[in-house]
């Protein structure tokens, strides 16, 4: 599945934002054109891909968002939109009216939420308005960037607005060479404690957690892994691989934290498979030099069996940029 950027501006300023560097380098007026959308759709379809993720910045502020959705739907794509759920009032009603006819199966939203106690009230009102209309299409996404995080509010949202009972969890990763808030690997064990206790509560509400890339397997013990298997229905992975993001100008990169790492153009590739293979091989080159975020990754059997990628490659590149050698014990 490819992630396609519709805009390069966002309505929020999350301190952990891993797209921050990319956004600040791009023009505020950059947004995906019809021509580029058609090229991307053709490229994916010719590669046998029928699922597309739209993101930004904030994709819902793209002036043609409803038209793009309808167009991709007519071309047979399943669409997932990664959004904050925050839209200008003037556009919201029109947007609602335009997409009501598209089946839930074909269009879903992954809403990235921050803790209400840390969010402005005006944002929260807009997010809740979004959930009240699109609840059945929405699942939540939460990025962990501070150690005192509390995810219980997600349960309230899910119950109150009838959201899908799945929460995607991401660890905030560093942007190599830049400053953003993230969880350093030495603090992963503290994250683990809060996660496992939260998952117990999730379980009581039939809510499944899902891990985004970059969680190292060793941050959990065997007992945790058993529980995680149960909580996630066995759909748990500790891999870090190319997500494939496509920019508004058709530039491509592996994933946001690595947006400066071997950036290419979509025109350089003839198929999605070729694109993925390229970034997999580039990531593998780095991992051959430093196998993971911990020194113990070098001799880890789990790592060798490829059950774990050794954490997010952004950490690895960050070490390299900061004159490496200082890996966490």
């Amino acid at each position: 599945m490819a992630n396609v950027l519709l805009t390069e501006t966002c309505v929020r300023s999350c301190p952990y934002c891993f797209a921050k560097q990319y956004m600040s380098d791009s023009d505020v007026n950059d947004s995906l054109t019809w021509d580029n959308l058609i090229y991307i759709a053709d490229f994916l379809q010719s590669s046998g891909i029928n699922h597309i993720s739209l993101l930004g910045g904030e994709p819902l502020i793209h002036p043609n968002i409803a038209e793009f959705i309808l167009y991709l739907n007519k071309r047979g794509f399943f669409i997932t939109i990664f959004t904050s759920g925050i839209m200008p009032d003037s556009k919201f009603e029109e947007f609602c009216n335009k997409i009501t006819g598209i089946p839930n199966l074909n269009l879903s939203f992954v809403c990235n939420v921050n803790e209400p106690r840390l969010s402005p009230k005006s944002e929260l009102a807009k997010v809740e308005r979004f959930f009240s209309i699109f609840g059945s299409r929405c699942s939540l996404s939460f990025n962990i960037y501070r150690l005192d995080f509390d995810m219980n509010f997600t349960i309230e949202y899910i119950v109150k607005f009838g959201l899908n009972r799945h929460v995607r969890l991401g660890l905030a990763h560093p942007i190599p060479g830049q400053k953003n808030k993230y969880i350093a690997p030495e603090s992963f064990s503290a994250v683990r404690d809060t996660l496992m206790s939260t998952f117990e509560v999730f379980s009581e509400h039939n809510i499944d957690p899902g891990f985004d890339c970059g969680f190292p397997l060793c941050m959990f013990n065997d007992n945790d892994l058993g529980k995680l298997y149960k909580y996630t229905g066995g759909r748990i992975s500790f891999q870090c691989g190319p997500a494939i993001d496509i920019g508004t100008d058709l530039s491509v990169w592996s994933c946001f934290p690595l947006s400066d790492f071997n950036k290419k153009s979509l025109y350089d590739f003839t198929s999605f498979e070729e694109l993925v293979n390229f970034y997999e091989s580039k990531m593998e080159e780095v991992r051959r030099k430093i196998s993971g975020i911990y020194t113990k990754c070098d001799v880890c059997e789990i790592r060798r069996k490829n059950l774990c990628s050794g954490g997010c490659l952004a950490h690895v590149l960050n070490y390299m940029i900061q004159e490496g050698g200082f890996r966490n014990e």
Binding site: T33, D35, A41, S46, N64
Partner: protein, 285 residues
């Protein structure tokens, strides 16, 4: 007579044209089914030309059309894209090709959008100046697009005919070829083009058409063709003369490069097709 007669539809005129192959021109999509029935009583109906050149696709009512007869629709632009996208399934069900004006840059994108959704499209060469890059970009998409999409004229006509020995006449796509089409008015006077008809420049009357020497027209064309070689103008050495036939000399900044590139695209496409690539059968003029 093996030419198709183009006329502004009226029931009375249709009744006087018994036995011919007809292309009635109308200005909206409503009543098309009745027109089809009427024309087919005593004539062969080649296609219907719906000229809504001042209207947007989004404002046209496609629901009133039921016929499978080929429809050539001229529209000004796509209009409200969302409204048009909502009509895509309906339009796709018809045997229809939509031509948009080359006057607007947006129309080049609109042609791509609708073609990628399976609607046969075309871009009219009706503008005094067409941006070379826009035109070539559309040609590239039309002829070398990596995913199957509906055809786009005049590029589709060019690749379908590029391997023939004679020069192409892309005006055929726009009903402007005396060898195939004649235009008549209510008095049955006929012209070889719409422009001539509008200027009341007639070649004769339909009642005497069998006595008209069409070779004169052919001869004029040949003279025009050879005159380039005598004058040694830039068309005489143009490698893409076969495609352009001097018709677009003033339209592009660099017509030679534009048509040479399209020529190349068409040959590539033609070679690809001959290697058993899948083709889609279409409503063609």
């Amino acid at each position: 007579m093996n030419r198709h007669i183009i006329y502004n539809y009226s029931q009375a005129l249709t009744e006087r044209l018994s036995g011919y192959s007809l292309i009635p021109r109308v200005e909206d999509l409503c009543n098309i089914d009745e027109i089809v029935t009427e024309v087919q009583k005593n004539n062969q109906l080649f296609c219907i030309w719906v000229d809504c050149s001042l209207m947007s696709i989004s404002d046209l009512d496609f629901e009133c059309v039921k016929t499978d007869t080929p429809i050539i629709l001229y529209a000004y632009n796509i209009g409200d894209i969302f409204k048009t996208l909502c009509k895509v399934d309906l339009i796709r069900n018809h045997n229809i090709r939509i031509f948009l004006s080359s006057d607007s840059k947006e129309n080049f994108h609109s042609v791509k959008i609708l073609s990628s959704l399976g609607i046969d499209m075309g871009i009219l060469l009706d503008s005094k100046h067409i941006d070379d890059d826009l035109f070539l970009d559309l040609a590239s998409y039309a002829l070398l697009g990596q995913v199957p999409h509906a055809s786009i004229e005049p590029f589709d006509y060019i690749w379908r005919n590029i391997m023939q020995e004679h020069n192409l006449d892309i005006d055929t796509i726009f009903f402007n070829n005396p060898q195939k089409y004649i235009y008549i008015n209510d008095s049955l006077d006929f012209s070889f083009s719409l422009e001539d008809l509008n200027k009341s420049c007639f070649a004769g009357n339909l009642s005497a058409i069998d006595h008209i020497d069409f070779n004169t027209e052919v001869e004029q064309k040949l003279n025009r063709y050879y005159s380039h070689f005598f004058a040694l103008d830039k068309c005489s050495k143009c490698p893409a003369f076969k495609v352009c036939d001097r018709k677009s000399i003033a339209v592009f900044n660099n017509c030679q490069e534009v048509y040479s590139t399209i020529y190349e695209y068409a040959e590539i496409r033609s070679n690809n097709e001959s290697q058993n690539h899948n083709t889609r059968s279409l409503c063609q003029l």
